[in-house]
């Protein structure tokens, strides 16, 4: 927040100027200021300030504005609240506190000649509970209305430093807004995203292709991380990310894409540091198992049989005695079937818990094993992989990991663990090199050494940006 030591003055122009500065009006989308004249004798200029979306416009228009229009009493502070049908009101003298009250959903009324502002607190209306299926306790979800989406974010994050600025697009009727935390997000990152939006956000991207699907050049990773949850957006904003909201889209796009952003949840903040770290490592191990399990089964049974005890190996071989396909096709068949089941469950018109999909996989796998169509070890690996892939909170992230496991499966056919290790090295090199908007994808990966460039996700986004700035300034 810009430091304004000012208190509410009798001059309305002064108060307006201070609020404009504090709330970044008018470039900050959602902040509304309306001039009116109280119909007293003589008429007195007044100013209403509120956040669009946090205050229900219809109720506001029909109620408060009409009451103010009818107000003919003496233009003195005690008279006005009595004339309005509001339950809760308060008087504020500090302009910074007043700005906070507005961001919390209050409607501020400033009148010429008054040295205090009236804040009406009855008008907060936002809040659409929607329970996401699964383990993530999100309570709100974005809608198709940009105005409402902005309000949902502001409801979660009531900081005057949260800026929502209009981002011009190539689409005539497509509105977009960039959200970022002033002082936290790195300005070149904001400028770069804004430039990109202006250059690339055209009608087809609005209507057909989507935005997150536009990949970075030569990269598998997308430019943005999509999310439908305001609490996630608030978490990203507080860490210095930039968020793009577009009209007619229930998805917010977060830039840049980092592993910390992809594999963490807002609820992680509620955990103590050791728990948070162990959870992060747990997810990392789970991701690696998802990647490697199907390939490892093929490598183990085709190339590295010495790793299994002979009786166990013989038992496995006997279960596959009548299997119609080779091991690779068996695993491939199981993995593809699992993908189809997962996708079917995900796309059903009625919300079905992911557990139902898992149960289907288990039952189907059991049937296939009993009938001798596949061996038990590939079926076990597939079900385990499906279960473990649920630890990745974000769908596109989980999908990418699941896609890469097919490459590992293919590499395992070539030369077992040898080619899998080679592919793993290439994958590691790729993720180490991958950058979104100049910020390294791996970002905070100081697992052993707390070097200046490692650390939590929060400084990392800025750190990448700072490095960009320094590189441009010719440090290196």
């Amino acid at each position: 927040m810009k430091a304004t030591e000012a208190t509410v003055a009798e001059s309305l122009a002064h108060n307006r100027a201070c609020l404009v500065r504090t709330l970044y009006f008018p470039e900050n989308l959602g902040i509304e200021m309306r001039d009116l004249r109280l119909p007293t004798e003589p008429p007195v200029p007044a100013l209403l300030v509120w956040v669009d979306g946090l205050v229900e416009l219809d109720a506001f228009g029909a109620g408060l504005a009409a009451e103010l229009d009818r107000f003919t009493g003496p233009a003195v502070p005690p008279a006005l609240p009595r004339a309005l049908t509001v339950q809760r009101h308060r008087w504020l003298r500090d302009l910074n506190v007043l700005a906070d009250a507005v961001l919390e959903g209050g409607v501020a009324l400033l009148v010429e000649g008054w040295s205090a502002a009236l804040v009406l607190d009855d008008h907060e209306r936002i809040g659409y509970p929607a329970q996401k299926l699964g383990v993530n306790p999100h309570t709100d979800i974005f809608t198709w209305d940009l105005r409402l989406n902005l309000a949902l974010v502001r409801k979660r994050m009531r900081s005057p430093r949260l800026l929502a600025v209009a981002a011009p697009t190539r689409h005539q009727h497509g509105a977009a807004a960039l959200l970022y935390l002033e002082g936290k997000a790195y300005p070149p990152l904001v400028r770069a995203v804004r430039r990109w939006v202006r250059a690339h956000l055209s009608e087809p991207t609005f209507n057909r292709r989507g935005i997150a699907g536009l990949p970075a050049v030569f990269g598998l990773l997308p430019r943005f991380r999509p999310t439908r949850w305001p609490d996630e957006v608030a978490k990203f904003l507080s860490e210095g990310y930039v968020v793009l909201l577009t009209d007619r889209s229930e998805v917010a796009y977060v830039a840049p894409v980092t592993q910390a952003g992809w594999f963490s949840l807002p609820s992680d903040y509620n955990l103590s540091y050791p728990l948070r770290r162990s959870l992060a490592y747990g997810r990392l191990i789970a991701i690696q198992l998802v990647l490697l399990l199907p390939g490892a089964v093929v490598a183990l049974l085709n190339y590295h049989q010495e790793m299994l005890p002979t009786p166990f190996l013989l038992a496995l071989a006997s279960t596959r005695e009548n299997a119609p396909f080779g091991l690779f096709f068996e695993v491939l068949f199981l993995e593809l079937t699992a993908e189809v089941i997962r996708e079917t469950v995900f796309r059903l018109p009625v919300s079905v818990p992911m557990g139902a999909g898992l149960l289907t996989m288990v039952l189907l796998g059991l049937l296939l094993v009993v009938t001798g169509f596949v061996g038990p070890l590939p079926a076990l690996a597939t079900v385990m992989g499906a279960l473990l892939s649920l630890v990745i909170p974000e769908y596109s992230g989980a999908y990418l990991v699941r896609l890469w496991r097919f490459y590992f499966l293919l590499s395992a056919v070539l030369l077992g663990f040898f080619t899998m290790a080679a592919l793993f090295a290439v994958l590691m090199a790729y993720v180490c090199q991958a950058r979104g908007w100049g910020v390294p994808f791996l970002g905070p990966s100081g697992w052993m050494f707390s070097s200046p460039e490692s650390g939590s996700a929060r400084p990392q986004v800025r750190k990448g940006g700072q490095a960009v700035g320094k590189a441009k300034a010719g440090v290196r």
Partner: protein
């Protein structure tokens, strides 16, 4: 937003360098320690680490005065543009040769120990393609990659050591001074050839933004690598007693065969293929990138990538010079000393000349 050149810290560089040095525990190059030090090979590894650290420290100290500079900048300051071009050519040749031998050796080991029916070309090409991809990136990515892998690598090595420790007998460590102190010291240059990879952090020092303490962290590279070597050699000596242990091609891989993970995991060496192959790819990638960066600096090229593929082709050519595994190991040992002299003591001398030239100038 333009793709930036990111910086990294001295500690990241040290971690990366440690990995580059320590990777060789999986390779037959380790045998040179056993040959020179006999039953005191662990001591030999430590002493040669100290020797190498003393040689790289002055290079790091002079580099601290050159922001954004690496060892090639020292060569230019000391010997001029012509000297820099000559150094880049020599460095490229040595790295391509050493890399080629490592490449062949890894492929030979994999063929001998795990996949007896696989042609050499498949193994070498697979590893080289991975290494070329690693080298295609930038220095910061490589350093971060190395720093991350170091953790897994250390876990893998420690697991082998812990798993095989029970098979050993401490009496095999006697006589404690092996061939005697004189022979031990005389063999140090031969053993120090294992530390030629300590040159890599000097080549990648240009990305270190804060130069304070650079010399200290660069000296840590051979020291920490030496500790890892000493630990591995100690366990190998008690498990595969000297001189019989010299006949084992890849001692650590053979040690991995002894690890028992209970009834369900009898021979786990397949797991260590991951650490072995991945770190080798990283080492070769770093060598390729290091040589390519030196070329790019010397010939004023915009990007090091231009030199990556020609160097990779040269590396592959060198990989197929030896006829078999025995010749590969022989080529490794015979070129070790020359490579060490050119890559460690010569830069120290060059750093001394550069220091004299820089004396009196502000850093």
């Amino acid at each position: 937003m333009a793709k930036p050149k990111l910086a990294y810290g001295s500690r990241s560089l040290a971690a990366f360098g440690t990995l580059m040095v320590a990777v060789q525990v999986f390779h037959p190059a380790m045998l040179s320690i056993l040959q020179a030090g006999e039953t005191a090979a662990w001591l030999s590894a430590l002493l040669s680490a100290v020797l190498t650290a003393l040689l790289v420290w002055p290079v790091g100290k002079v580099l601290e005065r050159i922001p954004g500079g690496n060892v090639m900048d020292l060569v230019r300051i000391a010997l001029g543009d012509f000297g820099e071009i000559a150094a880049a050519l020599v460095l490229g040749a040595i790295i391509a040769h050493r890399g080629g031998i490592y490449l062949r050796e890894t492929s030979e080991m994999a063929t001998t120990a795990v996949f007896p029916h696989t042609p050499q070309t498949f193994g070498t090409t697979t590893i080289l393609l991975g290494a070329a991809y690693v080298a295609w990136g930038d220095g910061a990515s490589l350093v971060h990659h190395g720093r991350m892998v170091l953790f897994g690598f250390l876990c893998a090595v420690l697991l082998i050591l812990a798993g095989t420790f029970g098979w050993g007998e401490f009496r095999y460590l006697t006589p404690v001074l092996g061939p005697g102190l004189g022979k031990l010291l005389a063999g140090l240059p031969q053993v120090s050839s294992l530390y030629v990879a300590a040159l890599l952090p000097l080549l990648f020092a240009d990305g270190v933004e804060r130069r304070e303490g650079l010399a200290r962290w660069i000296s840590v590279v051979p020291l920490s690598g030496g500790i890892i070597f000493a630990a591995v050699v100690l366990v190998l000596l008690i498990v595969f007693p000297f001189p019989g242990g010299l006949n084992i091609g890849a001692p650590l891989h053979s040690a991995a065969r002894l690890v028992l993970g209970g009834r369900f995991f009898e021979r786990l060496e397949g797991f260590w293929l991951f650490a072995w192959v991945e770190t080798t790819i990283l080492l070769l990638g770093a060598m390729l990138m290091g040589a390519a960066t030196a070329f790019a600096k010397a010939f004023r090229m915009d990007r090091h990538r231009t030199a990556v593929l020609p160097l990779a082709a040269l590396m592959l050519t060198f990989a197929f010079f030896p006829h078999d595994q025995a010749e590969t190991i022989e080529a490794l040992h015979s070129s070790a000393f020359i490579a060490f002299v050119i890559m460690i003591p010569v830069p120290a001398v060059v750093a001394g000349i550069a220091y004299l030239r820089l004396r009196g100038r502000p850093s």
